[in-house]
Amino acid sequence: MSVVSLRDPGRIIRAYLRFDIAASLAVTVLFSLVALIRPAYAMKIESVKSPGGIEAWLVEEHRVPMLALRFGFAGGNSQDPAGKEGLANFITGMMDEGAGDLTSEQFQQRMEEIAMRMSFEDGKDTLSGNFETLTVNRDKGLELLKLALTKPRFDPDAIERVREQLQAGLVYAARDPEKVAGQAWSATAFKGHAYGRPANGTKDSLAAITRDDLLAFHKKTFAKSNLKVVAVGDITAEDLGKLLDTVFGEIPAKAELAAVAQTKIAAGSQQVIEMNVPQSVAVFGLPAMARKDDDFMPAFVMNQILGGGGFASRLMEEVREKRGLAYGVYSYLQPYKSASIFAGSVATKNESIAQSLDVIRSEFKRMAENGPTETELKNAKSYLTGSYALRFDTNSKIASQLLGLLQDDYGIDYVEKRNAQVEAVTMADIKRVAAKLLKNDDLIVTIVGKPANLPVTATTAAPKG
């Protein structure tokens, strides 16, 4: 996440109103997986190489006079040094805090004057940037983007301001049952691995981060060797070539990334973290296959039927529609570079959370033992292939989809091939993969709240603010 949201207390406070995990996960998962589906129409993806040798994918679309750039640097918050957790996230909050001769205030005012949008986000494996400009201000916008990428100031005053915001964010997160559940689940599932460490840091790790840490991380990560770029909008291939050299030409040639080992997800377990809230939040998940595993696509289609398909999914039908136990329940398949997970979440009043989890476990078992029905499989494919165009109806959505593919080293023809792969998934594939994947004994379950009939294993702080 970016610190930008922390700058706005309204957004912090309002974030508490949303079904946070549900909204953010559902969106993330859709974005990362629907990229596999081919658009129904002729969207021409072009591979562009700049005179200076920087490569990018381009979709030309001149009907709206704007340009969306998405770029990602491999690395991400799994690169945070031990004791400096939260460093990648810290950087994302510093990128518009002044660069070159422009102070923080001057930089931000300039961004507003030319109505340019720029934001950065850290994931487990990538630090990515979003940039949008109106065509008429393109050159001015690119100049600012380049400054931010090559000459960030990291002024002490701005560092302290952002640090305070990040610390405040931690205080809020520690009291949010959804966030506490997500954190605790990751810490358990990825114990001993970089993925299990807190991406937004801890009070102590944030306090320990120095300007030199920011500069070092910036230099190691923002390099050409680990850079992927997608451009969508009102620009030609030739102009994009020039743009790439202008913006990215002067960053270091080679990134210096620490190796992140492949990891195994921990064994199945259940923990109950006591928090004084009327509704318990549960996060559940188990190990899954890598993105490029042959079983990935069958698992993706299976998840559509089990818990990824909204009101068309079994979990929603059994937990919400039939029993009224929850507002939201879902599952998703999430591949990372060093591990993949199949996970989900549900929130139910304390008296009934155990029942919700029982229903979910029995649906895992039913799917593992019997697979879906032919009708369910047909309907799932119908949705997945029929809805693909919905993912490509705006410049910024196209750019996000394509960057995901580029970062996973797929070729430019991947989008087309993947559509056929959805159709090719057979009932036998799904049954085999479901039986292999959905083992209730593997489930790591984290519950936060005051659940009835479940033993408490830990308590939360609600520490003094």
């Binding site: 207390p9 309204g10 957004r11 912090i12 309002r14 109103l17 079904f19 946070d20 909204a23 953010s24 559902a26 969106v27 993330t28 859709l30 129409y41 009907r63 006079p65 939260g86 205030e105 507003e112 109505a115 109106l134 008429v136 201000n137 301001r161 305070e164 405040a168 205080v171 809020y172 009291r175 506490v180 954190q183 358990t188 990825f190 299990g196 807190p198 991406a199 840091g201 973290i273 928090m275 004084n276 509704q279 939040v281 398909g309 909204g310 919400r320 529609e321 009224g324 136990l325 999430q334 929130a347 292939t385 809805s387 165009a389 919905l390 109806d393 705006t394 910024s396 308590t459 520490p463």
Partner: protein
């Protein structure tokens, strides 16, 4: 504010109702001019939105966008939580959930599944002034979803069992959104104080004790009173022409007879003059940091005089939106007494608008100190107004926002929906850039003096307290991960 039925939909919330802004893909030249100088806005940019009416009174708006072969199809009803009878709060939102049950043509619980099989996505949401249903589908599926939406406009069937099961779902929704969340609880208290008689004082999702008693009869009574083509607006954006939409709409919605008992003037109890500032202090061990929130009751785009609402939008952007705003600079950058500060004008209400200002109190400071600085910033804008540079930046931001928004057909559909559902016209929506451009520094100073009136305000302080039952000194569980699974 509004509540969606599903959880995958990105939600605006109680604290940030959708902004009233304006039109669709502007012609290239207009955009270039807009981006360069606001003076050129005097020439009103053309819009490609078309409006017509069916014989039964249903209003229709079509906004073509041919970039992708998909459409966003929405039906907006001119009814929301503020139209509920007293004592059955939450019924508008509850009915919105129940609209996904069954009709003679659509089997129990199949509505969303059918849309899914069509390769589409659907959802719905409810606000104080509107209830809307939508599907996003490929263009060839449009007639099908129009037929389904027209069918459930008047043919909904409910059984006791499914109503009571769904009632548990909305109670869980309330727990997720409100009961588990101290900021949301305080927001409810503040709105209840900000409005004295007007139903904006009642949360859209409803008060829990009233939700728990909602019945099938409550739902069907509300449905029959408010759902009819002459109380609805159809909005279609995407790869479709107005002519195509007209013929499809006539074949579906056009077959539904008008209901003369529906669609009366929406007359809600209005507030008396507000004569004293109200204050709240809400303590909750789950509150995180101490924060301060102030709401003002002000006019909305519908009730303000021409130019006033636009002036409030610009005023709040300059005063409190983003890191270049006056309050952010004063509280966060210069005095370092807040870790965050923001504010906005929310002008989309039928009867009132609200202005909100919020700040998180930094360690070492107090809510009193922060409030005094916010009041100083407000006093300054009242006395000195804003600079030309601030005004130009703010205008540039608003105008660019909707050029960017023109990239997204779903956003466009909502923009028109939120405006038209409270009775604004297409022309008013489309003239938004002109109207923003016309605002002067003097207008903003006048707006500040007229509307940032402490007597019409509520100030709330949310304070984290130690919870006797919650082991305040234990270390935080799992400090080793703050990453949500993404």
């Amino acid at each position: 504010m509004k509540y969606a039925r599903g959880c995958g939909e990105a939600l605006r919330t109680l604290a940030q109702p959708s902004r009233i802004t304006s039109p669709f893909v502007l012609p290239l030249m207009a955009i270039i001019m807009l981006a360069f100088t606001h003076a050129t806005l005097a020439a009103k940019p053309a819009s490609n939105a078309t409006e017509f009416q069916l014989a039964n009174g249903m209003q229709v708006v079509v906004v073509p966008d041919t970039r992708a072969p998909v459409v966003t199809h929405m039906v907006w009803y001119r009814v929301g939580a503020a139209d509920e009878p007293r004592g059955v709060s939450g019924i508008a939102h509850f009915l919105e959930h129940l609209m996904f049950k069954s009709t003679d043509k659509i089997p129990m619980g199949e509505f969303s599944k059918i849309v899914s099989r069509l390769g589409g996505q659907d959802n719905a949401f409810t606000g104080h002034d509107a209830t809307a249903y939508f599907q996003r589908v490929s263009k060839d599926r449009l007639p099908t979803v129009m037929g389904m939406e027209a069918d459930r406009m008047v043919n909904l069937k409910l059984t006791e069992k499914e109503v009571f099961t769904e009632r548990n779902v909305i109670l869980e929704e309330r727990r997720s959104r409100i009961e588990n969340n101290p900021s949301a609880l305080m927001d409810e208290q503040m709105n209840a104080a900000l409005f004295m008689s007007h139903p904006y004082k009642i949360p859209v999702i409803g008060w829990e004790h009233e939700m728990a008693k909602l019945s099938p009869t409550d739902a069907m009574t509300f449905y029959k009173r408010f759902y009819a083509p002459n109380n609805a607006i159809l909005i279609v954006t995407g790869d479709v022409t107005p002519e195509e939409v007209r013929s499809m709409a006539e074949a579906t919605y056009g077959k539904v007879p008008a209901n003369s008992g529906v669609g009366a003037v929406r007359q809600r109890p209005m507030d008396p003059p507000q004569r004293a500032a109200r204050r709240l202090r809400f303590e909750d061990p789950r509150a995180g940091k101490t924060s301060l929130t102030r709401y003002y009751q002000v006019p909305s785009y519908v009730t303000a005089k021409p130019g006033q609402a636009e002036a409030m939008d610009l005023m709040m952007k300059i005063l409190a939106q983003g890191s270049t705003s006056q309050i952010y600079k004063r509280l966060v950058v210069d005095k370092k007494i807040s870790s965050g500060a923001s504010g906005y004008y929310s002008g989309n209400g039928l009867d009132y608008g609200t202005i909100a200002i919020q700040a998180i109190i930094a360690d070492g400071s107090t809510a009193e100190v922060v409030e005094a600085e916010i009041d100083a910033a407000i006093a300054q804008i009242k006395e000195h107004g804003v600079t030309t540079a601030e005004l130009e930046r703010a205008k540039s931001g608003f105008i660019a926002d909707y050029v960017y928004e023109s990239d997204n057909q779903a956003t466009m559909a909502r923009r028109y929906g939120w405006n038209l559902v409270v009775g604004r016209t297409l022309a008013q929506v489309d003239s938004f850039p002109d109207d923003i451009a016309k605002v002067t520094a003097e207008d903003i100073k006048t707006a500040a003096n007229s509307f940032l009136n402490i007597k019409s305000s509520v100030t709330g302080v949310l304070v984290p307290t130690a919870d006797a039952g919650a082991r305040a000194d234990m270390p935080m569980v799992a400090p080793s991960s703050t990453q949500m699974m993404r």
